[in-house]
Symmetry: C2
Subunit: 335 residues, 2 copies
């Protein structure tokens, strides 16, 4: 069978090539009945747009890139579900790129996307990312960029986050109320604004309850599982905290491993609380007190902002900065 | 600053444009010292190849697509790590596409990749996939395709799997030895060859121990978390199995939820065993007896086969069919 072209579709439907093309690109100037008819026939005949020709003609590839630190993390896999839901409704394919928390990899991916390979980008920064030139360059090239969760206020783009300061303050106060006086804080990185906000929530709760901030109780995440294990072990042995607040999901399980290996009991010897969207938090021994972020909704809203910007050729001004609420779920690891 | 072109790089290094281009494409005819020099300068000057021009000239996009059912699953996230390790060494970008276990989505993604958007494809089939025409079409178009884990023998491509029959037989025998006589089996789908192999391992162990195969004890996974919950609940209430063998990771936690909601005790009232690469299997209450697949190594080997095929323009013949060994880890949910 010969390849189906726009011209062929136009002939079969007795419409202009331009109407066919604009229908397939979901142009708002074409009425929905016509669009539906065109899309139905294109699907039936398995019409394949030529992506390169399309891109050269600046029609867009109908593709969104999602740049993430990792996927072995329930927060990000739920966010992807939210992203895909909105992307699919708007006819976009979703490509996922992983940085593995590596700044150079993030730069490499940004460069790879610089030449219009995708219509827009959703992104959550790696924990190593401090210099933001690679993102400024994407914005200069006119590629729509929306950040979510791990954002930076230094980037001129819309973003979607949660109430990191407030919920971290609330979680720390919960530990203090439950009797903790020496609360260790496991941080994502000092570069990211969410890490800073979570840390400020923690330190403001300490201050409110007249507890000293002790730098020796603060440990930053590295890229290595083994290093994180050793750093947390050292922290517990040397500083003997009575509680640990993990500000990042992947550290919660490492804490359980260390505590178990040191033959300590949660919550009697040490309380544990973590940011986490793990579905199994309630089935852990003991069940984990966690901060649940609305990950699905974060993905949904970030994608709505992005697809609207792609459709209308620009972001709404002022740039949207959306803050959603997280939830503290108290379980047996703290009480 | 003017854009850096191949010509500019050639001038600066006093080499031919063809040598520069072939060095950047890792051509085996160029010696490594020259390649290193070219790559170093290209990186230093932030040389950006034009992906569309490159593709039109059939030079390849240096990109691999990975099509997966989901990422909220430790098996796939570990496999991605293995894929990325090998891809990175060979200079390929990795794009991840998710089918969410949906056959139509899988076809849509395959069509999207039909026109040479990527150099090769790694893939694990969705549980709904029965018709394989979309993959035959990719192969006809000359796009290298390697399947892993959820493969089909009906596809003419290399694949990497584990010893699904043997380890499932061993796991079932473990349950029988531990005293189970009425073992329910939770299956991924009847279409996939791994589902069939796991089921055959289960039924062959029953036969060996003179236990009847009861169709009422077999439940197939659907795409809905709620449906899976209800089906497992119905199974436990109506059939009263004394053990459950979940042949797919995502069902293990649903079983824990149902058993907990029915106020039954694991392993006294019902034993539970599952395929799982969950790092937290040992911290569940009770800890989960699991079959661990070498997910990282599966990803690594599948990617090695693919990158070699991309480099040499063809697969080795006969097509490689690699089988790796899984491991049964006995914990408190069965003994």
């Amino acid at each position: 069978m010969a390849d189906i072209t726009l011209k062929k579709l136009a002939e079969l439907l007795n419409l202009s090539i331009s109407t066919i093309s604009r229908s397939l690109n979901d142009d708002y100037q074409i009425n929905q009945t016509t669009k539906d008819k065109v899309i139905a026939l294109a699907k039936e005949l398995n019409y394949q747009p030529n992506p390169y020709a399309g891109s050269l003609r600046k029609k867009g590839s109908k593709t969104i890139a999602v740049i993430l630190p990792e996927v072995a993390n329930n927060f990000f896999s739920l966010a992807i579900d939210g992203i895909e839901e909105v992307a699919q409704k708007n006819g976009f394919h979703v490509l996922i790129y992983l940085t593995h928390e590596n700044y150079l990899k993030e730069v490499d991916i940004a460069n790879h996307l610089m030449n219009g390979r995708v219509d827009g980008i959703l992104m959550s920064l790696s924990s190593e990312t401090n210099n933001l030139e690679h993102l400024d360059k994407l914005i200069e090239k006119g590629i729509p960029l929306v950040l979510f969760d791990r954002v930076s206020d230094k980037i001129n783009s819309p973003h979607v986050t949660t109430d990191d300061f407030e919920v971290s303050q609330k979680a720390t106060e919960h530990l203090i109320t439950a009797g903790s006086k020496k609360i260790a804080f496991l941080s994502l990185s000092r570069y990211l604004s969410i890490a800073e906000k979570r840390f400020k929530g923690y330190s403001s709760a300490l201050k409110k309850h007249d507890l000293d901030l002790d730098e020796k109780l603060i440990v930053s995440l590295t890229n290595s599982l083994e290093e994180n294990y050793e750093n947390i072990k050292k922290l517990i042995i040397e500083e003997k905290p009575d509680a640990i607040f993990a500000s990042v999901e992947s550290l919660a399980m490492t804490v359980y491993e260390v505590v178990n290996d040191l033959k300590l009991k949660i919550p009697n010897d040490i309380k544990v609380l973590s940011f986490s969207n793990l579905r199994i938090a309630s089935f852990l021994a003991p069940s984990l007190t966690s901060i649940n972020q609305p990950a699905f909704e974060i993905g949904r809203q970030a994608t709505s902002i992005l697809t609207r910007a792609i459709k209308y050729g620009k972001f709404e001004t002022p740039l949207e900065k959306i803050i959603l609420k997280s939830e503290l779920q108290i379980r047996n690891s703290t009480v």
